[in-house]
Amino acid sequence: MSGCPFGGGQQPPADAHSESSLASSETTDGVTRRLSRRGLLGLAGVGGAGAVAGIAAGLLGHDAIAAAAAPPAANDSVIPFFGDRQAGITTAAQDRLHMAAFDVTTEDRAALIELLKDWTAAAEAMTAGRTTGATGAVDGPYDAPPEDTGEALDLDAGRLTLTIGFGASLFEKDGKARFGLGGKRPDALIDLPHFPGDALEPARTGGDIVVQACADDPQVAVHAIRNLARIGFGKARVRWSQLGFGRTSSTSRAQQTPRNLFGFKDGTNNLKSEDAALLDEHVWAGAGSRAGEAWMAGGSYLVARRIRMHIEIWDRTSLREQEGLIGRTKGEGAPLSGGKEFTAPDFAIKGNDGEPLIGMDSHVRLAHPNQNDGVRMLRRGYNYTDGSDGLGHLDAGLFFIAFVKDPRTHYVPMQMTMAKQDVLALEYLKHTGSGLFAVPPGVRQGGYIGEGLFA
């Protein structure tokens, strides 16, 4: 019989939890499972001490933010959460998306701030590959529901990013300011106009707060949204949510250009994280013209559009027509004016019929910066399928996401042009959901998302 810890009592007990567990292979069940998502990362830098402090503080009811652990050390699967700007914008586009828009159901400013603090703490933990709450998925009391839902145990952080933005309806409803945010709604956070052909469904449109979860593993992204939704119960409810199964844009030159469901490369000419000057010019918001909107400096505006593609009809279209509508070749993705994928399109060059090789109503021409006062956007969309439509077709398409400096100059004019003239849009696309959100700058350690808005 011995009351000594681990027989001899030589190991410092506070660290014994993770170290001894790892060192010996005798651990089973809960301990082993914890290691893959928490323990290993803990050793990589979060630190037994930090993680344990979180547990202790959480149990004793301390502020969740104060208990947040130190930033993790380098790990391929971890995108740092803290920073001047929110991750998930210029971050090399991950493979999967789960985006959710929430309606805030409380009108209490303090409750909203608490929600944002709780979300910040949970987002920091999940993006670092840890579980949510002080006791996670398996370490809590046996008679209580686990704090973390657990489906991401055994998975690494999956390059998860959580990007949060605020919709116009958070600031005012029925002409009345909410949460004491009168005068804080940025001028750029407009109500998007009706674009010709819009078939927006209210249940897929708008929302007070949006959360974009991107990860290389869909389970990680869904886990993140699910846990944030759970934390939000009583303060916020999911208005709509959207899964995206494959990225349609590259945001880094290191990435290959992916394809959309039309089978064409998408986002060849996208802004890339390497283009620092262009990002400042087209993506990052400034301080605005009023004191009330200065909190957005360093943020961006997220445009989300759920674009149903009539893929069955598209598939019956000749390759000639498909390429003509897009303005690029299907295989290489080269502009029809010639060259390779990244060759600049020549809109002037004509064929033997005297018509431009890149048609006047082609998608490439209409969307090109040359045709849009030089404005550009950072696109970060995803392919989706949401089951079928009951008529024998897939409900499939593009969940378009773009980050822009100011939607008034960087989104609305181009979308208006395309909605009117782009044959592709007219015949093969239907916009069924929409949202515009002000994405505040990043969070510093000890702060919370959107803090500047409440200062």
């Binding site: 011995s2 810890p5 410092p12 506070a14 004793l60 046996y142 529901p145």
Partner: protein
């Protein structure tokens, strides 16, 4: 149920364990690791205390801990099923326990411990007196509740709830008889007027009623719940007959009479069985949560009463039952987690206020009269309450 076994079990276990306390050679064993344990206790970052139970040993990674919430991660490294106890200084009274830990499994025991001297014990094989060690909780300034008083509050709550169940089943029996008589006699108008109001007594105590696995389907099965070949009896069979859809062929007087008789007999059986049900705080807490789950699953979706559309009566009754269970546990909960008690109070009130807007006369609007927005509003409030309510059991039982 850790911490909530019947008093009888506790005493027996305590008495058996007590025998060992006198003969244990603990002081010696402990002396060799006291320094280390103290160093641990003074650190600000204590995590779970690791307990390793083998067939011959009970290793506890610290012998001293600060007062407040303590978590023991109990790992069974032995070949037999084990148990772990935290006993009071007298070595008799069980402060907390975790049972049924299979070989290789790790189970957490979380408890709130005030400063004082304790004894820990592993019981490999679930028999014998346990392998014991002394354990000290030092005052950390964090307040921990005195648990003798707490147990009294819990017991009072359980007694009150037991009385509530009795009262509801009595009303259910009386109401069912009246309903059954009207229905059997072919007085559809009277039967319809009694249907929803009588069922409320059932819905208020649904988790208790459902604990009788054979009676629940006989009394409350919906048509969609039936297995092929299963005979359909009970409330919803009558519902379909009383609120007929187009093309429905009504039951004969003989069929109605048979259903009525069965309904009364099954309800009386239920009533007599509930007399012997032993309730406990965890059953109250979990029952309250289950009632809200019922609302979220069947009532807010309009699936429970697909012909009568009287889902809001059931909704109200489920909320009543959950609230009573919560109110009965509230004095005990306030000791442990007053913030949760306050939160639950507010969430119950918000849901009740919204439900009240749909009240009509003695009852409610029919489910199919609600707009989608109204249903969504109710659903959001149910979720808002359900999340903190799921924490009630652990908060009280801990």
């Amino acid at each position: 149920m850790p911490g909530l076994t019947s008093p009888k079990t506790r005493r027996t276990a305590g008495a058996r364990l007590a025998v060992v306390a006198a003969t244990a050679v603990l002081p010696l064993a402990l002396a060799s690791c006291t320094d280390n344990a103290n160093a641990n206790a003074t650190g600000a970052t204590d995590g779970p205390i690791q307990v390793t139970s083998t067939d011959t040993e009970c290793k506890v990674s610290a012998a001293v801990a600060p007062s407040g919430n303590l978590t023991f991660a109990v790992k069974n490294d032995g070949a037999e099923v084990t148990e772990f106890y935290v006993l009071a200084e007298d070595g008799l009274r069980i402060v907390a326990e975790v049972e049924n830990i299979g070989p290789g499994i790790t189970r957490n025991l979380v408890l709130t411990a005030p400063a004082g001297k304790y004894t820990t014990a592993c019981k490999p094989g679930m028999k014998g007196d346990g392998i014991r060690a002394e354990f000290t909780v030092k005052d950390s300034g964090k307040q921990a509740t005195a648990d003798a008083d707490h147990q009294k509050l819990v017991d009072t709550g359980v007694t009150q709830y037991t009385a509530y169940v009795k009262d509801q089943t009595e009303q259910l029996v009386a109401g069912t008889k009246e309903f059954a008589a009207a229905y059997a006699a072919g007085d559809a108008a009277k039967a319809k007027s009694l249907y929803a109001a009588t069922r409320m007594h059932w819905e208020r105590i649904e988790p208790v009623a459902e604990s009788f696995g054979d009676l629940d389907p006989k009394l409350d099965a919906r048509e969609a719940d039936l297995e092929p070949g299963q005979k359909w009896t009970g409330w919803h069979r009558a519902e379909k007959d009383l609120f007929p859809q187009a093309g429905y062929k009504a039951l004969t007087a003989a069929e109605r009479s048979a259903i009525s008789k069965q309904l009364v007999a099954d309800t009386e059986e239920l009533s007599s069985r509930t007399r012997t049900v032993e309730l406990s705080a965890d059953k109250l807490g979990n029952g309250a949560k289950e009632l809200l789950d019922e609302v979220a699953r069947g009532k807010v979706t309009g699936e429970e009463e697909i012909w009568s559309h009287t889902d809001l009566w059931d909704f109200q009754a489920n909320v009543d039952g959950a609230r009573i269970a919560f109110e009965n546990l509230k004095p005990a909960l306030e000791q442990k987690d007053s913030a949760l008690a306050k939160d639950l109070d507010a969430k119950f009130s918000a849901l009740q206020a919204e439900l009240k807007t749909h009240a009509k006369g003695d009852g409610f609007a029919y489910y199919n009269e609600l707009s989608k927005d109204e249903v969504q509003k109710l659903s959001a409030l149910v979720d808002a309450l359900g999340e903190p309510l799921s924490k009630l059991t652990a908060a009280v039982v801990l």
